[in-house]
Symmetry: none
Subunit: 419 residues, 2 copies
């Protein structure tokens, strides 16, 4: 029988927008991996009445309640007090929890090492609960079962919440999990979300397990296949045919599965093939180089880049001939080609990607429209230029243009057609 968890985050700082509820994201991931459904997240402030109401609603629709925050002296152990009361449990002094805290304190303050009164408050836990020792902070967490509901209380700081869940709460929840949920994420570049979605709509609506859901990223689409089964193997077996079908439909538009980004795929391919990379950027102004060097380990293959924002830099640094620039203008197929070839020479790299175009907000002095972009890739003995019409505001045009450069690199290294 399948179980349903509800997450209740306690903290006025969340309601003021001082922080985002990242604990909910962490725990949701863990729970879906355990095959426990999560139907609701709730955030409530440091207010006993409103927390109590949230708990009463949660117990009416979930059989696992996981709270984050509201433990510890600064909030008078609000969460512990309210949940113990809601489930008719006394708070009793837990000698072991107190000793653990004292030990942690001595580590923290070797000089004094003495705890204040309000710290000892934290040693009071619901009667009959399983204390969760906190090796990552002071406030202990705990878990108990009452009225058919399992209650788990975790500290709020992300550096304590996630680790305590994995180390203490998962064993406590053992037995609740039936089966596993496995995700597989296919990344598509080169087709808009609604086009991808309309191609798959019927199929998606017909599917129950696995499910298929598209998520739009900037100029990209992520297709997530989610399967539920008794074992990971069975789940993967459910996913495989769906993945195969999507790959058959979208062919080279699918640039990877469970990969972080286009540029990460390029880095892997360049390393495997022992090739170096350089960039020449006009409209993207360094974005492509920035995105590639965001990746740890980029220095193994990345030589450098030139941001040629003016004709002078195109001419004097990249060696683009003035004749080309005057005849065709900076935003043209021949100049893109010359930028890529020049970058390869100047930077001494195996592959050089070049981008020139109009990012906007205004069209250029030759009247080229916003979004017209030429992406070029030069390699030993060859160069290819692709004309793109990137849509949307400046930031999107720049992002999509850089992605096209990476897609050219990927296609070249995978031996796919460049168009």
């Amino acid at each position: 029988m399948s179980h349903t968890a509800e997450l209740i985050a306690v903290g006025t700082e969340l309601l003021l927008g001082n922080i985002a509820n990242t604990d909910a994201q962490t725990l949701s991931r863990e729970l879906s991996a355990l095959g426990i459904n999560v139907y609701y997240h709730t955030v409530v402030g440091d207010n006993p009445e409103r927390l109590r109401k949230a708990v009463d609603i949660a117990r009416s629709r979930a059989d696992v309640i996981i709270t984050t925050g509201g433990l510890g002296p600064t909030c008078d152990d609000l969460t512990k007090t309210v949940l113990a009361e809601a489930f008719g449990k006394k708070l009793v002094y837990n000698e072991e929890a107190a000793r653990r805290m004292e030990a942690y304190f001595r580590k923290l303050h070797p000089d004094t090492g003495r705890m204040t009164e309000n710290n000892y408050q934290q040693a009071y836990l619901p009667e009959g609960c399983t204390p969760f020792q906190n090796d990552w902070g002071t406030a202990p967490g705990c878990g108990f079962e009452a009225g058919g509901v399992r209650v788990v209380m975790l500290p709020g700081p992300p550096s304590e919440c996630g680790p305590m869940f994995r180390a203490r709460a998962i064993p406590f929840l053992a037995g609740l999990t039936d089966g596993v949920i496995v995700n597989r994420s296919l990344r598509i570049f080169g087709m808009g979300e609604s086009a991808v979605e309309s191609r798959l709509r019927e199929q998606m609506n017909a599917m129950t397990n696995p499910t298929l859901a598209p998520y739009a990223k900037e100029g990209e689409v992520e297709l997530r296949i989610t399967a539920k089964a008794d074992t990971e193997e069975e789940a993967r077996a459910l996913i495989a045919p769906v993945e195969a079908d999507i790959r058959a439909r979208f062919g080279p538009l699918v640039y990877g599965a469970d990969v972080p980004s286009l540029e990460a795929v390029c880095l892997k391919l360049l390393k495997e093939q022992g090739l170096t990379l350089g960039t020449a950027e006009s409209l993207t102004g360094g974005l492509a180089a920035k995105r590639f060097t965001d990746l740890p380990g980029a220095s193994a293959v990345f030589r450098g880049g030139v941001v040629s924002y003016t004709d002078q830099v195109k001419e004097h640094v990249l060696g683009v001939s003035r004749t080309l620039l005057e005849e065709y203008g900076a935003v043209s197929e021949p100049v893109a080609r010359a930028m890529a070839e020049g970058a390869r020479k100047v930077l001494g790299c195996d592959l050089a990607a070049a981008l020139t175009g109009v990012a906007g907000p205004d069209s250029d002095d030759r009247g080229n429209p916003v979004g017209l972009v030429y992406a070029a890739l030069a390699w030993e003995g060859g160069v290819h230029v692709k004309a793109i019409h990137a849509a949307g505001p400046r930031a999107r045009v720049r992002t999509v243009s850089a992605s096209w450069a990476f897609d050219l690199i990927r296609r070249k290294l995978e031996g796919l057609p460049l168009n």
Copy 2:
């Protein structure tokens, strides 16, 4: 009379932990600045029944309901359908919304420009609502009032949600806030959040109107002064002395008020003084150039940049002497200086900023620690180098390093001490 808002985020990807609910953080900040209370956040999946339950609970405890996500074709406009039904409204075809989407689509796909059927679905809006035109994406939002509750529906993508709230929802909510609320945001670079906060804590705790709240950005602190009064003039009069006090305390660390970023301040100063800029980047790999060219109008002053990720590029493109590179290594004060001077020559710009350092994850071959960075600024007849110890993971080291380069430019152009 004070109002209470509840945020309902719709999206299974939130319950699976694929993304964090950052929209809730953004909107909570905005709402608290408007003086509207937020008592609960709720997250629910793409499920009509459960969304309906969440809405019924929300209307029982709030008089403003703001939904994020669940608009657009991929989820069958779930949110619009459920909320219209919950408040007894029909969905009617909105000709204007359709035309706006078509226009956006033509911009997006100048070649085809035709919308698919599922896009037209988005033009159906609750009868009598105020449509929120989406200038940041496709799915329009909307607002309506029913049964004493104001309902606001916003798209899920953070790049659309926040801007639409500020541009469309705030006017729609006008009248809920008695009097006016005025924000003034002071930006501080060069001091950590906790140092800034501890200097202001007593003052902040003592203040009620205006209030003063610090927000940490990457390597920066934003101090937001929020005043509530009957008129904007009165509100600004309340803010002025607080701003003056903060400027007196933090001096040149305050780089602007109500400004978007350090680089935007640099662009303004460069334009005013008729000076051009170039960059030479090692560890930041183009991030500084990218951030500067993110700004519309950057081309008026930005000449270009060199991403010199290897010694060869430093030597052959920037003209850094091999002797310097061999004697001091790439991460050194002399090389930073030579990179800045070389960039000025090669790029033909008035000011050139250079960055070299160790972004991590590993220290460099000379054993320089992660986070050691040299930022240099060269101008006609001078050059200054600043050594920085940037803390944190790779991405943060890169961001903070680029910011230091912009801060050197700002200080130079404002005639402030460079240290």
